[in-house]
Amino acid sequence: MPDLRPMLPELFLFAWAIVVLLFGISRKERSGDSLIYLTLVGLVITGILVPIAGYGNLFGGTFVVDKFAAFFQIVFLLAAFFAVASSHELMKKLSADRGEFFALILLSTTGMMLLASTLELITLYVSLELTTIPLFVLAAYRKDQLGSSEAGLKYLILGAVSSAILLYGISLVYGLTGTTFLQPAMSRLIEQSVPMLLASGNVNMALVMAIVMMVAGFGFKLALVPFHMWAPDVYEGAPTPITSFLSVASKGAGVVAIARVFYTALPAFHDVHWGTLVAVLAAAAMIVGNITAVLQSNIKRMLAFSSIAHAGYVMVGFVALPQGSIVPPYGPASLLFYMMAYLFANMGAFACVIAFEKNYGSYQIKDYQGLSKNSPGLAIIMTLFLLSLAGIPPLAGFMAKYYVFLAGWQQFPWLVIVGLLTSVIALFYYANIIMQMYFSRGETSLTKAHYDRPLILTLILTAVGTVAVGIYPEPILRFATEAVKVFPF
């Protein structure tokens, strides 16, 4: 019997999902408040269990908790916490199935936590399915709205296609190495590819195909260009708390999976096979995401395109592997830091969108005009998140972009230049909303906003996170730098 302690957070979260499910079935109260608090308590306890459970390697590598896994587990738990706390308004609109809603969020979070802590491809794939299958249902949760059903269906079909592509890539890796474990796969791939390259000058074509298909499969989850088509429609149609969860946690799941596979099994092939490929996709995501975001009039669609662009920035950190002299902060660490900064700013921005929707019933950017006069608090906190997303000092988004670009500059200076130029475009559409809120001359019909308590909690915590990570980034950066030492480079 192995010591199961490192697995405690996942086991607890799964058990808590069942508790929430049964609690939801047994009580038919109107607001769903007690369910929200019950779910939040479960997430907080799981968060406390992560450091208590500690690190470990169980079942020969199918379950591995290291600092890298723990970091992402905290990111996923925070994202789930904020999404659940923003769901109060949605609960009022649902007539049934409230317990199932939170149970599915917890099950999806369990999948993400398992995804972060594995060094084996079958476990990785199964965890990814556990992550996405509840999300298909959650995206389609508003059965009274056609857009929500459309979002669920589109997400389901494209999710299934991307899983199939990913599986094809994984099966090629297995065919080449005879193992599904990532660590032995690396040495076998090197043993196999180097003689081929030296003898006949041939690259290992099957490996190239596997890499391309895995990048495409993970690219769908990350919503990288050109695998982003599903994101705007799904983000727009899904209930807004789920959109916020998708934009951070689901993206984070893609990041953690691609980082585990490529950093553990394929770092030696960075220069010849995948570095430039991912860099080009990152550039495309930054360009397409930012330029298309300018054209949007619906704030959920705008944030969808902005999240596509942010996937591009994250990937700049991803491709910047250290070479020779390591000067922290280098790429992989900046990738982790970026996810944390993006988590607070994006969850906060979506919480503001939910607060606005609750009070004024609109997603149109033009309806935000004059918000500062009637709800100065909401306007100022929304400005904070938008400025962080735009990368303005001294907020978290600025430090994140700074570290990512610093890491990318050594190997891909052109990519950093693309990133800087598109950041200027991004400033334009984020600033547009701020202008609407503060400097619009038009008459406004907005009344003073009212909030519910869990939403206020989300707004305060994300705002504190955005400011704190920006002003005092050292602890997170130090932990991120430590965390990526598990990888062989």
Binding site: G60, D97, L107, S108, T123, V126, R188, N204
Partner: protein
């Protein structure tokens, strides 16, 4: 398996898989599509038998041909509107899809053909793979095996939520 006829059987099964697969996505009557899907899945089971994977072949027949395909046919028969009515399966993106598919097959054939595969010929295939698979699922791969049951639970809850009438 007699090694002399095995390659011919492989090509026969593969041919049936490809042709019936194409029919599944092109025929207009959704009921016929389901029947060809059964044929397709059956031929895949044949390929598993040729590979000596007897357990996987049995699972393929029991689960895919037996349970899933029958469930699909039930769903079609119980949905009054779709059975017997021709449904157009194509849209204006067919040419792009054909180009993409042909290009992918060409690249895959070229790439996989040029690769030197690490094939071991000295390993004996066990007569009975069921026990080996069972052992692996309960030892090395116990974590994914357990996660799959959670995935099924999540899918079950999701299906009930989506299907339930308010």
């Amino acid at each position: 398996m007699d090694s002399a006829i095995a390659p011919y059987l492989f090509y026969l099964f593969s041919f049936v898989v490809v042709v019936s697969g194409l029919l599944v996505v092109t025929l207009r009557d959704i009921f016929h599509c389901a029947l060809f899907l059964i044929l397709c899945l059956f031929s895949v089971a044949g390929i598993y038998v040729l590979l000596g994977a007897d357990f996987i072949a049995a699972v393929q027949v029991l689960l895919y041909v037996g349970a899933i395909a029958v469930l699909m046919i039930f769903a079609i028969m119980l949905t009054a509107k779709v059975s017997g009515i021709g449904i157009k399966q194509q849209n204006e993106q067919v040419p792009i899809a054909i180009i993409t598919t042909v290009a992918f097959v060409a690249i895959a054939l070229y790439g996989l053909g040029k690769t030197i595969w690490n094939i071991k010929t000295d390993v004996a295939i066990p007569d009975n793979t069921t026990m080996a698979i069972g052992k692996l699922l309960m030892t090395t791969y116990v974590v994914p095996f357990e996660i799959v049951s959670v995935v099924l639970l999540a899918a079950l809850i999701g299906a009930i939520v989506i299907a339930r009438r308010n």
